[in-house]
Symmetry: C2
């Protein structure tokens, strides 16, 4: 096996290390986070750091690193208390990636990418129209990671939208049918195919597939 | 589109909501976290919450929710200061999932699943031998999320191992070639296939693929 030690990592070229470490920690969820400022200016950007925090009550977390996220996304999120999380689907990866670099502060990620904003059920922040799974979230709190200055945003999930027909009888969504993608590092988009889903095993039992035979 | 409001979510059956919310926040990284206690007892369990925190220095985060993770994993992690993160690959999803429920405190996730421990380069915590990408991590700090009692563990990535031939000239790893999987919710394992990888675009430029033509 190839091996990099702490010393190797420390002495490595910065861009090389960024690619390596982002990739080595595994695939990440691929989301478009959208906000609207108090002045009514909307924006949207790719995030690869949305994680599950709890379901009772429904909560998610995401990481904001100052150097990689447009500043107005964080400002709008904390000032208005609302934002949306929208899945990136296979047919919109190029548009989504257009939002990564936002050199012109006067042009929003929506304008830059051609993604369209959509307002639903009176929620203040815009959703991404093209996305087939979208969450309306309330900013609840933030924690600063002292070790590197990253902020963890804690949010309550208040609305869940998804296309009809992808929900299983127990609430689980067939993300494969929605075409949701994942990120490898900061720039690699990959499409997952379901191998299997397992039921919890009782002690001493073998685990069992949800399907009559494995799809693998 | 289907829609659940905050009120719907609040009144939902607990298991149903757990499946829905875990799935609706998107695919997650699928990792086996392994530890060894001060008494020398090792354990391993599936995590779907490893996220990237930074690459300079290399850091990752993970979420520990008391109700879903074996208590001795956290105890060993904080007491010894060392743990490993190992990718779950397509050929080991059934074994990996055997570690989810650990009813017998005297049987470790290694024994229960048939996954094998492996010690590398003097690092105190065991790696999972079968895994083809593995990280040696130092516990650095933890943050308690007051809203639901979840703990965020912050760790320094000190060792990165991966199989030969999957590293691109810029450090990015071809996770597809390693066969790394992702989790949909708590129990659905899916195998990603790369659609495309994009270079950063300069202002006013179209984004460009790393490949001469898109694989999509």
């Amino acid at each position: 096996m190839e091996h990099y030690s702490a010393k190797d990592l420390q002495e490595m070229d910065k861009i090389y290390r960024r690619n390596l470490v982002n990739s080595a920690t595994g695939y990440k969820s691929a989301s478009l986070v959208a906000t609207v400022s108090e002045a009514g200016i909307s924006n949207v950007a790719v995030f690869n750091s949305v994680f599950h925090l709890g379901s009772n009550p429904p909560m998610l977390g995401l990481v904001l690193r100052p150097e990689t996220v447009p500043a107005n996304i964080y400002q709008s999120m904390s000032a208005t208390g609302s934002f949306t999380v929208n899945h990136i689907q296979r047919n919109m990866i190029e548009q989504a990636h257009q939002t990564v670099e936002q050199p012109d502060k006067d042009i929003s990620g929506f304008e830059q990418s051609g993604l369209e904003e959509e307002f639903l059920d009176g929620f203040p922040a815009p959703y991404v129209r093209q996305s087939s799974i979208k969450l309306g979230c309330k900013y609840v709190n933030e924690y600063t990671i002292n070790e590197n200055g990253a902020r963890i945003i804690v949010a309550a999930v208040e609305h869940i939208y998804f296309e009809e027909g992808i929900e299983m009888p127990d609430g689980w969504l067939r993300l494969e049918d929605a075409g949701s993608v994942v990120l490898n590092g900061l720039d690699g988009y990959a499409l997952p195919e379901l191998l299997d889903r397992f039921r919890y095993a009782r002690p001493g039992e073998e685990i069992r597939s949800f399907f009559s035979s494995s799809k693998q």
